[in-house]
């Protein structure tokens, strides 16, 4: 492929914007951007509404074949080799982190994707949540700076050694 490196990163930027938009539209269509829809799903002892399970089910149904393909072929159209995140390392950091996330998610009914999409509702609530989210992320990165990065959004990022 004779695409220049500049052209390629431009293409990645454009397609990323498109996929971000599709992701956001999915959050809107599924009503994940309404915190009450999320807490209704989590309220097993009360107004339990199983809709969120259909959101995850629909997403996994579409994404799973792509991951199966990526595990076999390990090559993306624009960014070269796909190096998928670790699937097996289970430690206290994983479980404690997920538990803290669960408390915050249950209190607010907001996880990071819908929180960002809610920014354009121009409500102070969304702004406060995202500012605190950013602070929590940066605090954690600084507090764990001596340790390898916990997170890889880039499938081709170098793998932490632990």
């Amino acid at each position: 492929m004779s695409v220049s490196s500049f052209g390629r990163s431009l293409a990645v930027m454009v397609t990323s914007a498109l996929f971000g938009l599709i992701f956001g539209l999915g959050l809107i269509v599924s009503h994940m951007v309404d915190p009450q829809r999320v807490t209704d799903f989590l309220d097993i002892a009360g107004t339990w509404n199983p809709a969120l399970a259909f959101v995850m089910g629909g997403a996994i149904l579409v994404a799973a074949p792509a991951f199966a393909y990526a595990r076999r072929h390990r090559s993306s159209a624009l960014s070269g080799a796909i190096d998928l995140p670790d699937r097996f390392r289970i430690n206290s950091r994983l479980v404690i982190g997920a538990a803290l996330f669960g408390i915050g998610w249950g209190l607010s009914g907001i996880c990071p994707g819908p929180g960002l999409t809610l920014l354009t509702s121009f409500e102070p609530r969304a702004l406060v949540f995202i500012a605190a989210l950013a602070a929590g992320i940066r605090f954690t990165d600084m507090a764990t700076a001596a340790k390898p990065a916990a997170q890889e959004d880039m499938a081709t990022a170098p793998r932490p050694a632990d």
């Binding site: 599709i22 992701f23 956001g24 599924s30 009503h31 309220d43 209190l107 509702s121």
Partner: protein, 140 residues
């Protein structure tokens, strides 16, 4: 039943975005990871364009005749600040959120993501129980 159909349709769009980010750009569509690594200044302007698309979605939705639901909040500003901090710390420690572990990780048959997703679902359900049935105050 319509609520389940739109839930699944919205989910399918999320899955499509995750599949596209993986196969076209070689990236995991985990929102806490993309947001956090963008804040950390990692090279790659694609993170910012992805986030711009995500944030712009409610402005674009009406053009596609998609109704944007009004958000109903149970939490007040102080609770939202605490919740945001916990979500930030928690997703960074565990390496993913609902999208990174719940959608991408489970789609990738990751045992690690299954443990994370089970944990945050269970703890979130317990937290909602405390709010709604034990009347933990969150309105401030």
């Amino acid at each position: 039943m319509e609520i389940f159909a739109t839930a699944a349709a919205g989910g399918a769009l999320i899955g499509l975005a995750a599949a596209g980010m993986l196969l076209v750009n070689g990236s995991i569509a985990g929102i806490s990871g993309i947001f956090g690594n963008a804040l950390a200044g990692q090279p790659g302007l694609w993170r910012w364009t992805f986030l711009a698309g995500l944030i712009a979605a409610p402005l674009v939705a009406p053009l596609a005749k998609i109704e944007v639901p009004a958000p109903h909040h149970q939490a007040g500003l102080v609770t939202l600040a605490i919740a945001g901090l916990l979500v930030g710390i928690g997703t960074r420690l565990s390496g993913g959120c609902t999208s990174g572990h719940g959608v991408c990780g489970l789609s990738n048959l990751s045992r690690r993501s299954l443990v994370a997703t089970g944990t945050f679902m269970l703890v979130a359900a317990l937290t909602v129980y405390a709010v709604r049935h034990l009347h933990l105050p969150v309105g401030f």
